[in-house]
Symmetry: C2
Subunit: 722 residues, 2 copies
């Protein structure tokens, strides 16, 4: 039994404790960032002190008045509750109380929201997820002002404002509440925080162990079921960011209310791993890599990440990496962690970048369902990240993008992922929900940088099918800046096509960066294979002649996302190396693609069949080959600089001048290229990924190496030195 | 006779004097920005100390090796010359000498550059302009190391390196040299600086007064002939930025060598006015407003502007506005001005923004050839700038854009000017020169935000015709934040169409910003009139139904730039207010267009007939009306906020709910609108711009006002209070 007898003295317990609040109060004036964060909140709340806050009857979808009003109401109550504790000024508590009493009148009257379209409709909002958000913040607000309320007021609020909402999501939406899914994390956190705030053991137990209290659902099961052992979140970093808030904020409350649970130690500190994995999955500008359904603007400055970083700082100890994040977040929470971070940032020279590194994360609860690799080269503002995705599907927010790659360089997107087709919060755009083009284009394979067979998406675009399978890593070697490599395959994306991709990130002398992409398809039947490069930038030159569609544009295809692509130009090429140079920011990028027999190349742009202008207009370069077993062999080179301010352009031409397949069969692939006049030779095994010694004939002489791959530059083996 | 007898003691004279250099040297360690600027140069130069610098036979166009090499050679010599004076280390002087001796061998052998295509070909570079740049910097470099050279070395360099170049541009290219044009400014500065550096009075006189020394050409004539009395540079700010360097750097040298000229006081301090006008013509992000031929990336951080700001600081005195610029430039020159600015920036709280204000600049040497207005509202990062252009043509870099407007808000382009079609310095893109699409699209009227009659550009796209005429301001009132207005007309853009445009920037209660655009066309014949809005952003919603071209795109037209526009959608509307909302950054913008009888609306995007992908893909919204005298009446509203981080969108719908023309004839236009439920009433005179009192009937009652316009909001006259 965790309830103390003196309830009055005990609260607050959720956001911070009484002692913690006293300490924050003491330090407010000492640290500029803490003071600024305090003032930001105080200015907002003070404007509304003494005014009558509207608690309207729910009516509008996301982006509409009632939606936004209820959303800002719970943040207002939460912030006002914090201020009550930091200032002792009763007016802040009264503000919270008055709003809570209005909800106590409103909530018992609510039924399904009039704009509800999802399978889990809300009461206050169009979807239950937002009602769970409301419970989290309103629960904390109540906890923060609890000791200012009379017993009668407490009863009115607990019975009127909270009970109908808790009953609704735990009973009416029982199966939604118990589902292992990010919505469920919010739901558990909401019910659990209300439980702690209202001293309701039943609520807390349900929150922890599911409505059946058997541990198959509930918060602990969510901790066990949504992250891989590495802390990778199966829906991807955009949703990891979103889910991490209820995880941390409920864990923080549990640490105060049920310290014996040692929730932050659970599963080998899974919450720390989850936070670190989420941060590693950001670009140097702080934005989360936008794979699966993702809004590109989201970065680690969101309140979710501020909360998680501030709590982690307290629970897991001071960490220079977190400090770099906190510096860029430019805001702290008004709790112990926030005060401590603000102190650590004061007057110190803190690094501007998170310690990004090359890293792999396994997917799946047991870590056996593929994963992602972040292959990194260079550092700080010159960091390059090649993201290789060979995960499971990622639940309802997954895209059909087995073996997809994305490339980021100097903070910019170079080979991009469209993310999701959605204007979050914009009522005019389908109420701010996912747009039809999200399923129809953004989730389809052609919207990514991986092979599409026969203009059909992986798993035929069926989420149900896709959920059954995952890709597999074959081998990898990360961390040696000269040669980093990851290889993976996907057997089930198509019924009769196996996909196998190996990507190399090479760091050559003179800080030169070069990526080799070897993509094999295997089949017993002839297929049309397309490998798109969703490049960001302006076409500068090509080594091949193409025919532009100058007076008439038509879609590239008619289904599975192809109908959204205008075909702007095409080329037919044979037995050549096709080079395409584009400019992004001040840097040139060249894709050199080897075509052994014949191929068709396309330049496309999104926008066809988009009658409501829901898609951004973005270009792609697509390589098409027909056959059974085909190899897409591409070198991507980062080169030169175009400085429009001083009007000097340097190294605007690629250094790759030759690209040849010496051997390419089921056993081995041997690639020879000329780079800056020197020979680059790469040999890889396509079947045997053990430490076997291989000897094969290479143009008359023997080539010998051990293990799944080897790279020679200028006739010297590279990537093996320490 | 300005030559002193002791030449040894006198130099350097161009970039700085001996005493100035000694002072900079003394202060190097004291001010962080000065030290950083010094180290930046020193690191660059030190890398090349003792190496053999290539002075290749000219061969390549802009962006090619020999072009870039000669360009970096003159900067290297200049910087090394500065370091010689600041360190006393003779190795820096030797570096300069060795390169100069190579040029002394090369230059006498040179003829027309093999890649020359312009009417003023160069020797070292493809165009003579770059040779003039070479003279400016190489002349200064020589001056900086002169006192380290033996008389024989001096003679070799003066006769070999300089004389052939000076002879070439003053004799072979005599008429080019004497032309009043930005190239001529560079040519005069080059010859003049070489004259000062080599103690050659003849060169200096030619530079000052033209090859005939009659003052009809030369630097003084360029000071008198290229700026309007306000300091407006007729080619626009992009070229003002470029021309300002030779003006300032030669004036600076003259101030040392011929102080009696008082060149900085010439024409009422025209050089100060020119600098201030150029700075006012920048966006809050520092970029120059890109009208006429202009590269959008150019901002005031260019070396040209650093030089001008640093010299102005010395010549015209310390100025907080210049200090804000210098803070953002993050670099100073290593001269007296630079040192003084670095001192002023040290440890002080310097404003981040230039003191932008609403201002008009007249065009034309006498200030009687139209002009531009910068109408500003709000301040600092919330500054809005409406740019209205009613200038003369702007010489060879002018666009056919009479009465064009552009809009900037919060640092972003909202209604944009394409600028020029050019990848400056990129060899693969037509040698870095203006692309064919510059004349064929970017300069054409349809690429702007002004009326096109009959799909034909102003002046039928003839520069020669356009140069004969200019637009005229009719009336204006700037500075009152509630109502600012500028009205102008253009009689000659078309043979039988007169264009008249009046733009209002209104600041309504609650920091609301609203622009009214009243565009009249007058003709005796029926024409097709198009008014494009080159908006930047994503379509959010429209009040009208349109038909999107989903499966087949075709160009909007076949000539005068229309052939570059894909027609993405169109709508036919009648007797309505057509509203179009788009999102740019986190802000919504709505254009409400009144259509009194019928109109066709188009959504277009650049990219048709662009076989080499030379154009950026940019959208436009075009209003088409047919008739003789037509009025385009548009309200542009800035509203709301979409914050993707917190996922809240507010005020995403426009507040304009009604728009009506109460009266619209040759005498008066009276507009009535509902904005936020309140009446907005605007009356303007279309003919009489004096201080006359007008009384007209408005829906039964009399409307009385004095002067060319009046605005009422919520039945109260606004914009008249102080």
């Amino acid at each position: 039994m965790f309830l103390l007898t003196d309830v009055q003295a005990q609260h607050p317990l959720t956001f911070f404790t009484k002692a913690e609040a006293a300490n924050v109060k003491k330090e407010l004036d000492r640290y500029p960032l803490l003071l600024k964060s305090y003032k930001d909140i105080k200015i907002q709340v003070d404007k509304q002190l003494g005014t009558d806050i509207d608690v309207p009857v729910p009516k509008d979808p996301a982006g509409g008045y009632t939606h936004d009003r209820h959303k800002s109401n719970y943040m207002l109550m939460f912030n006002s509750g914090i201020l009550y504790n930091l200032t002792g000024d009763l007016r802040y508590a009264v503000l919270v109380k008055r709003i809570l009493l209005k909800y106590a009148l409103l909530n018992p009257t609510l039924k399904k929201h009039p704009q509800a379209t999802s399978s889990s409709p809300g009461h206050i909002f169009w979807q239950a997820l937002n009602d769970a958000n409301w419970l989290v913040y309103t629960g904390m607000a109540y906890d923060l002002v609890q000791n200012s309320l009379s017993p009668a007021e407490r009863k009115t609020i607990e019975d009127g404002a909270f009970k109908p909402e808790v009953d609704f999501i735990t009973k009416d939406l029982n199966s939604w509440f118990n589902l292992i899914h990010n919505h469920g994390v919010w739901a558990c956190a909401g019910v659990g925080i209300v439980g702690i705030a209202t001293d309701n053991k039943e609520y807390v137990d349900i929150a922890l162990y599911g409505t059946a209290k058997d541990g198959k659902s509930g918060f602990v099961a969510q901790l066990d079921g949504l992250f891989s052992p590495d802390g990778y979140y199966t829906e991807g970093p955009y949703y990891a960011r979103y889910a991490i808030l209820p995880y941390y904020i409920f864990a923080n409350a549990l640490q105060h209310a049920r310290p014996s649970l040692k929730i932050f130690e659970h599963r080998g500190r899974i919450l720390l791993k989850a936070l670190q994995a989420a941060l590693q999955q950001t670009n140097t500008d702080g934005s989360f890599f936008p794979f699966n359904d993702a809004i590109k603007e989201k970065d680690y400055s969101t309140s979710e990440m501020i909360t998680a970083v501030n709590i982690a700082w307290t629970q897991y100890g001071a960490d220079p990496g977190l400090l770099a994040i906190a510096k860029n977040q430019k805001q702290v929470m008004l709790n112990g962690g926030g005060a401590s971070i603000a102190a650590a940032l004061t007057g110190k020279n803190v690094p501007s970048y998170y310690p990004y590194k090359s890293v792999e994360y396994a997917d799946g609860v047991k870590g056996d369902e593929g994963g992602i690799a972040l292959i990194r080269s260079g550092k700080e503002k010159k960091l390059t990240t090649l993201l290789f995705k060979y995960t499971a599907h990622g639940l309802s927010h997954g895209h059909f993008d087995k073996l997809n790659i994305s490339l980021y360089d100097q903070g910019n997107e170079i080979l991009s992922d469209y993310g999701s087709a959605r204007f979050v919060g914009v009522e005019q755009k389908y109420g701010g929900r996912y747009l039809p083009e999200n399923d129809k284009y953004a989730a389809q394979t052609i919207a990514h940088n991986t092979v599409v067979a026969d203009e059909t998406s992986h798993f035929n675009g069926s989420e149900k099918q896709a959920e059954k399978f995952h890709a597999n890593k074959q081998f990898s070697h990360l961390g040696n800046p000269a040669v980093q490599v990851v290889s993976a395959d996907a057997d089930n994306a198509y019924r009769d096509v196996r996909l196998q991709r190996t990507v190399y990130m090479l760091g050559l002398p003179g800080e030169k960066k070069l990526m080799l992409d070897v993509f094999h398809t295997y089949s017993n039947k002839v297929h049309q294979y397309d490998l798109p490069f969703q490049y960001k930038g302006q076409l500068i030159s090509t080594s091949f002649r193409y025919r532009a569609d100058q007076n008439n544009l038509q879609p590239l295809g008619s289904r599975n996302g192809y109908e959204y692509l205008w075909k702007e130009a095409q080329a037919s090429i044979a037995d050549t190396v096709a080079q395409f140079t584009f400019l992004n920011g001040q840097t040139y990028y060249t894709i050199s693609t080897l075509v052994s027999d014949s191929a068709t190349l396309f330049f496309t742009r999104t926008g066809a069949n988009d009658p409501e202008f829901n898609l951004r207009r973005e270009p792609a370069f697509i390589v098409r080959q027909n056959g059974q077993n085909k190899t897409f062999m591409s070198l991507l080179e980062i080169h030169g600089k175009m400085d429009p301010v001083i009007e000097i352009s340097s190294q605007s031409y690629p250094s790759v001048t030759r690209l040849k397949l010496i051997r390419d069969d089921a056993d081995f692939t041997v690639v020879q290229a000329a780079y800056g006049g020197k020979e680059l030779l790469i040999a890889q095994s396509n079947k045997d990924f053990k430490d076997t010694e291989h000897t094969i004939s290479n143009q008359g002489t023997d080539l010998t190496w051990k293990g799944p791959y080897a790279v020679w530059y200028d006739h010297k083996r590279i990537g093996v030195e320490k």
